[in-house]
Symmetry: C2
Subunit: 291 residues, 2 copies
Amino acid sequence: MTRQELVDLIRRKKSYLCVGLDTDPEKIPHWIREDFEDPVFEFNRRIIDATIDKVAAYKPNMAFYESQGSKGWKSLEKTMDYLNSHTQGPVFTIADAKRGDIGNSASYYAKAFFENMQFDSVTVNPYMGHDALKPFLSVPGKWAVVLALTSNPGAKDFQLWQPQLPMILEKLGIKTEQWKRFYELIVEQCLQWGTPENMMFVVGATRPEMLQSVRESAPNHFFLVPGVGTQGGSLQEVSRQAMNSDCGLLINVSRNIIFASKGRDFDQRAREVAIEYQQEMEVLLKEKNLI
Amino acid sequence: MTRQELVDLIRRKKSYLCVGLDTDPEKIPHWIREDFEDPVFEFNRRIIDATIDKVAAYKPNMAFYESQGSKGWKSLEKTMDYLNSHTQGPVFTIADAKRGDIGNSASYYAKAFFENMQFDSVTVNPYMGHDALKPFLSVPGKWAVVLALTSNPGAKDFQLWQPQLPMILEKLGIKTEQWKRFYELIVEQCLQWGTPENMMFVVGATRPEMLQSVRESAPNHFFLVPGVGTQGGSLQEVSRQAMNSDCGLLINVSRNIIFASKGRDFDQRAREVAIEYQQEMEVLLKEKNLI
């Protein structure tokens, strides 16, 4: 999906909501587990049918599918076939795989997600450098979603790392503004490799002031924002700080939507929660004159 | 597999060779592709049978299996079943998956590799911090193999990054030794989280002086070393600089062994190349009085 198509989709649906298909087999309602041969696919199918008119994107998280081995991959392939041929599509799709490997291996990962399963995008880990990203930036209409600043506690360990100035400098009164945090270096460097047409950044909602600083560095790129909902980030705060003139945001919500209920009505409850987010987004899009 | 069992295995086999099962379906001899229903598994089976008495470890690279979708995962599961029940086993196994995700997702990846497929270890990407590594460090006898300094060109982009001192400091004659490169920070921090019993580091052979510096920081940890062979690293140089009193090295060779020949004799050629490496390793182990 091209950038323009994504922007049009967001405007048409009045939504920049991404539903995370973190389909933990142990959290699927027990009756689905008992009644269906492929409960993961059946669960996803019902969530998709109940929410697709209210969301811009779906993001299956590979960890949950891989934990079921080849059977899990089959459920994922079926989910992608279902999404890609849905009568209420198209919808943007993100393989939350966080892959990152040397060039040759990375090109096989790109094949797995872009060609075989027809995902629009893949989350990628930048630690191994440019050759790890390149294969995800080389296919028109496909996207690399680069981990910049994630929403987990461990983000502080390396992403937020910043050189400490020697004491002597403080005594000499030398200012420290020039010392960037590591995620800022990542963003700055990645901006040399990708464009707003083929690269997005993952920027967590849990540190809003930093979200704003990434927006300053990358005014035109889309951000995939986790951390709203369970992790405590605020949809309004994130949107007001980082929405750009093409929206430029996909806000991910996973468990709060897909596991909103464990009952027979789980898909309808998922729909209700998705609508709550979508309605809030509609107001925010209007505030920015985007719709 | 515990550290002691791994060390015993290396001494018994007089080998610290790891064979990378980078089974690119397009590079498998055509007659295997034509004659067998699961050519990837058939190829792996023959490579394993031809080399297992000469190697300490096998490392399937997930990218090649995932590129075949659920079918590829099935080939991988069969390969692991075969390895784990081999009469000439046990042998150390590494899932070269380079995974890294927030705690809950990471624990599902750990389940996929440690529980379902009974891998001894998984390569993990440290960028997301401690919660991304923890699930891989919590199972006795299982290992996290942390990417420190990889052997690809892109390693220079972030791993080798180092703060640049302001010009004024040079003028003041302030020394720069205290400014570590990013991969050194990663190693230093990870040493706080894991032990030589549950953590290894990936350190490429292509920058031998840096390999030595990681050995100084982590004297007792095992290193998984890619980059010998096709990428130009030297087995002798690596071994002399980084072998410790328990060997502490697993040297990976992939294509040079598994694709040594495209003919009917591919497995025998693979064996011959593996024996060349093993014999060189035997000399180096003797030099260190390890056997």
